[in-house]
């Protein structure tokens, strides 16, 4: 009798633990509007009912990304840049009859949550498009939902190849895809660093695995056959088992495309404390001066990173934005400038489409996006291929030097 009761207790405990995991995992994932959601809708409805009476139409730009969790830093920076872009666009008077607001859709980089918040955005008629989601896994799970609602998307950072290859018409991105990034990184490693052996670590996520696959393939094609590969998970904090393998191999390069700068820095700190230091190449996601450089206390010195656009610091057109942003929020992280640019690209498409009777035809915005030809703070003209990939731009290799990232080499797209 006691044993049976114990079994029931254990079952209850386990379900409670699972419940705790769920609760802990979703710290405020609800899609929240910057203004009260209910009143927004009624305002929009009233306007459409009364026609254009000179009253301002309120439209919303969805911002989807990880605003909490491991990637909260790049997510929050992106969100702030999106807000700035929307404020700038409102203030510019380009569309005097419209006020744009931002709807936050926090997905915590979790594919399941990304799908839930996508439903909310897609079902809100005032949402004219979405900036993000930022992570490839999140785009993958939410793309079918956005496609069904014909919600135009511009992702600032989702690089997985499949996203644009799967035939969805609403998907656009202003970063090069892994299919371009991977071979460029491999080319840099072989030609500039002269590597002959490599150790690859991914975190099992769509982005990380996809990019590691690409680099592995391109390295092999380039004649580097001495390659080892391991995986960690985004929750891992103890890397000693995998680092022991790295130490035993002593590779010419450690390629670790781990999107969380804190985790990437911890990996290198633990490498240093284990008494060895091999040249490392982190991926684009790690470009965060606080978490990847300051908090690493020197452990990441010399690490190469990929930047999916030119360093904003080196683009004259971006200086005004950078100044205003850093005055308000101290520092940018990797996708901050891209988020601003992506928002402007979307709003330009809305401007081209125009507002009819207080409403915007999402399908028309999507068509206008396809014809984008816009040069903003990134310093090069942005246009899209038929699949929604970036038609120009390049891959930039940067490096940790002292307390900042410095450009090393630009690799142009063919």
């Amino acid at each position: 009798v006691k044993l049976a009761r114990n079994a029931i207790l254990v079952a209850l405990v386990l379900s409670l633990v699972l419940a705790l995991g769920l609760v802990a995992g979703c710290g405020g994932d609800e899609a929240t509007t910057t203004t009260a959601g209910g009143t927004d809708t009624t305002a929009a409805e009233q306007t459409s009912a009364t026609g254009s009476t000179g009253e301002k139409v309120e439209l919303k730009v969805g911002a989807a990304g990880p605003f909490t969790g491991q990637l909260a830093k790049i997510g929050t920076d992106a969100l702030q840049a999106i807000r700035m872009a929307v404020e700038d666009f409102n203030a510019s008077g380009a569309m005097p009859d419209v006020t744009f607001t931002v709807v936050e859709a926090d997905d915590g980089a979790d594919p399941a949550k990304a799908a839930t918040v996508a439903e909310k955005l897609a079902s809100d008629d005032a949402v004219i498009g979405v900036i993000g989601p930022m992570t490839s896994s999140a785009v993958k799970s939410s793309l079918p939902i956005y496609e069904e609602g014909m919600v135009p998307m511009v992702s600032q950072s989702a690089t997985n190849d499949e996203l644009s290859e799967s035939g969805y018409s609403v998907f656009h991105r202003i970063c090069p895809k892994d299919g371009v990034q991977g071979p460029s990184i491999a080319k840099f490693m072989i030609e500039d660093l002269g590597v002959q052996s490599a150790f690859l670590i991914d975190d099992k996520g769509t982005y990380s695995q996809g990019l590691a696959d690409q680099v592995e393939k391109a390295l092999k094609e380039g004649g580097v056959t001495n390659i080892q590969r391991e995986s960690i998970t985004p929750e891992d904090k103890d890397f000693s088992a995998v680092l022991t393998k790295v130490k035993a191999m002593n590779p010419d390069i450690l390629f670790a495309p781990i999107p969380s700068p804190a985790q990437g820095a911890a990996l290198e700190k633990q490498m240093l404390s284990m008494g060895f230091d091999v040249p490392a190449h982190a991926a684009d996601g790690a470009k965060d001066p606080t978490e990847f450089i300051a908090n690493a206390g020197g452990a990441t010195e010399g690490t190469y990173l990929t930047s999916l656009g030119p360093l904003p610091e080196s683009v004259p057109a971006a200086q005004d934005f950078l100044e205003r942003y850093t005055a308000k929020y101290k520092e940018t992280s990797l996708f901050t400038a891209q988020s601003y640019e992506a928002t402007m690209v979307l709003l330009e498409a809305v401007k081209k489409t125009g507002v009819d009777d207080g409403k915007v035809d999402r399908e028309a915005v999507n068509a206008a996006l396809a014809g984008t030809d816009y040069t903003g703070i990134m310093g090069f003209p942005i246009s899209f291929t038929a699949e929604g990939d970036l038609a120009a731009g390049g891959i930039y290799i940067i490096q940790v030097k002292g307390s900042e990232f410095v450009p090393v080499k630009a690799i142009e797209l063919d």
């Binding site: 009798v1 006691k2 044993l3 114990n6 207790l9 209850l12 405990v13 409670l16 633990v17 419940a19 705790l20 995991g21 609760v23 802990a24 710290g27 909490t68 969790g69 909260a72 830093k73 929050t76 099992k204 391991e230 995986s231 960690i232 929750e235 904090k237 103890d238 000693s240 088992a241 995998v242 022991t244 393998k245 130490k247 035993a248 804190a262 820095a265 911890a266 700190k269 633990q270 240093l272 404390s273 284990m274 008494g275 978490e291 908090n295 690493a296 206390g297 020197g298 452990a299």
Partner: protein, 304 residues
């Protein structure tokens, strides 16, 4: 050569799990409840250590005196965590002592979520760095054969060993230890014998939480960072270790911790890092199939 290094890795990880698992096991032994908030006490210990170390780094006295800073971090964490543990017991569990068995469990979950959320909000859900390389000079690294043991690792192993030996002696030799064992066997009978059960329970929480505080600081040094969810993530492993060794049994928890750490480390070393957790938990299931009450657990007496 890799085997030696991985053995050190397993020892370090096992030490962290052991410090953590003890708190679960001790409380379960006496109250037959799972103290879910234990993981959060552990996490807060990590943050206390972080605050102390940053204060020292800011003052610039650090480089000269790692021997002073780390003990201060540990002592601060021990004080804060034992106070927190005893307070949690007093406020959230004691009023429910006579309630249905699930009530304190729910209360524990509530405290756990509350503490996790509070720290999460304060830290903006982001990790905080431990400047391990500043706190511990890298030339303190010990080399045995082909294995290198960085200072934070031997520190973890050493401090854990001291805590475990001291605790073992305390529980088995001292008057209070005897009272603890008596309370764990039969709370009512212990009360009849003149043992102040409430005081013994408070002491148990105090000791368990103090160990968690030490564990939090050591884990911070070892992982080089702390975050609001670390208690939960590690707690799952520590809880598993406690069950593996026979929950409620003090030495069992330590044994379970080292077995689990060994399975994880060698699983990722010789099979694949991808299947680390799969290997560890498969081992747990197999062991529990053959020893349902855990390695050193006692078969519950059948009460009619």
């Amino acid at each position: 050569m890799e085997v030696q290094q991985q053995l050190i890795n397993a020892l370090t990880l096992g030490s962290v799990y052991a410090l953590f698992a003890l708190g679960y096991s001790m409380v379960y032994g006496i109250l037959e409840m799972l103290n879910f908030a234990h993981g959060e006490v552990f996490m807060i210990g990590g943050f206390v250590g972080y605050l102390v170390s940053t204060a020292f780094i800011a003052d610039g006295v650090l480089a000269a005196s790692p021997l002073i800073v780390i003990p201060i971090m540990l002592v601060a964490a021990v004080i804060c965590c034992s106070a927190l543990g005893v307070t949690i017991e007093f406020l959230a569990y004691r009023p429910l002592r006579k309630a249905a068995r699930l009530a304190p469990l729910i209360s524990a979950l509530g405290v756990s979520i509350l503490l996790q959320s509070v720290v999460g909000v304060i830290t903006g859900y982001r990790a905080r760095p431990y400047s391990t390389h500043l706190l511990l000079p890298t030339d303190w690294t010990i080399t045995i054969g082909n294995a290198t043991i960085p200072p934070e690792r031997w520190l973890v192993i050493l401090v854990t060993a001291i805590c475990l030996i001291a605790l073992d002696a305390y529980i088995n030799r001292s008057q209070v230890g005897k009272a603890m064992r008596a309370t764990s066997q039969d709370r009512e009978a212990a009360a009849f014998m003149g043992i102040s059960v409430n005081r013994i329970i408070s002491t148990t929480f105090l000791i368990g939480s103090a160990l968690a505080g030490i564990g939090g600081v050591l884990t911070g040094l070892y992982y080089t960072q702390v975050d609001f969810a670390m208690g939960f993530a590690l707690g799952m492993k520590a809880f598993t270790a406690a069950v593996l060794g026979g929950i409620g049994n003090f030495r069992g928890a330590v044994l379970g911790a080292f077995i689990l750490a060994g399975a994880e480390t060698f699983g990722s070393a010789f099979i694949s890092t991808t299947y680390k957790d799969v290997i560890a938990f498969a081992l747990l299931i197999v062991l529990l199939l053959f020893k349902p009450s855990g390695l050193l657990g006692q078969q519950a007496a059948v009460k009619v």
